[in-house]
Symmetry: C2
Subunit: 147 residues, 2 copies
């Protein structure tokens, strides 16, 4: 059903759940799987904050931040391959997350984007929007928002 699945990963707990769902779908349907991370400076996910804290780094310390993110995505890739997926790739982009995810999906002919929900409250979500909702609005393909 899905030839090429994109999992958008920001290092947060929600995106780890989304990655699991994406791996399971890709396994089921024999899909290619691309793991995409978009670097931005705002809203560091908790796992990255913890990493930075543990390493006595600040959010200004961007090379270290990239390293932490890459490590999380590498873990997902290893898990995906351990579950038998043969065509897994990791992609890193810089920019506005929703726009970058949608643009990449379009350029790579993705069938389905799997993305974690940030779990914003209705109020926050109405006010700020969330990456997942922007992706769902802008994407030309099916979007699965994992909670």
């Amino acid at each position: 059903m899905f030839k090429h699945i994109l999992a958008a990963i920001d290092g947060s707990e929600h995106s780890t759940k989304a990655a699991k769902v994406a791996i399971e779908l890709a396994r089921t349907y024999g899909s290619d799987l691309t793991l995409l991370h978009v670097t931005r400076k705002l809203d560091l996910p908790d796992q990255l904050k913890e990493y930075l804290k543990a390493e006595h780094l600040t959010r200004e310390d961007l090379p270290a931040l990239d390293e932490a993110t890459k490590r999380i995505i590498e873990d997902v890739r290893i898990k995906a391959e351990a579950q038998g997926l043969k065509r897994v790739r990791t992609i890193f982009r810089e920019g506005k997350p929703a726009r970058s995810i949608v643009d990449y999906a379009r350029s790579a002919s993705i069938d389905a984007i799997v993305i974690g929900s940030r779990g914003l409250s209705d109020f926050e979500s109405a006010l700020l929007g969330s990456v997942s909702h922007k992706v769902a609005s802008l994407a030309g393909c099916t979007v699965m928002i994992v909670k």
Copy 2:
């Protein structure tokens, strides 16, 4: 991965695509499948408009409208069962679509809601919101928006 999948069906082309995806997922994962339609008066889907026109009816003619909707959902149910699904049920509700879908999903312990995108333009979507985005915001479970 999904024990109980809910397909939200409004009779539109997008919801027919969503129903297909929901059937495929339910087949793959051996899930229960519930087909839910929420009746509202605004925004008649094209298929229903065509039905009404063909039958020389107006949108005021609500018993006929319900009949048309039920026929579309019955078609989906027959397709699902023809594909080997054993636990398919159809549910009809009246009310605000997004809220009714989310409330039903919560009450029935749904794992994943599959819903069509209305394909609104970014501008319209920002202005009006869409049922699928409201469902994605409010639902406690995974939401797949099919385009």
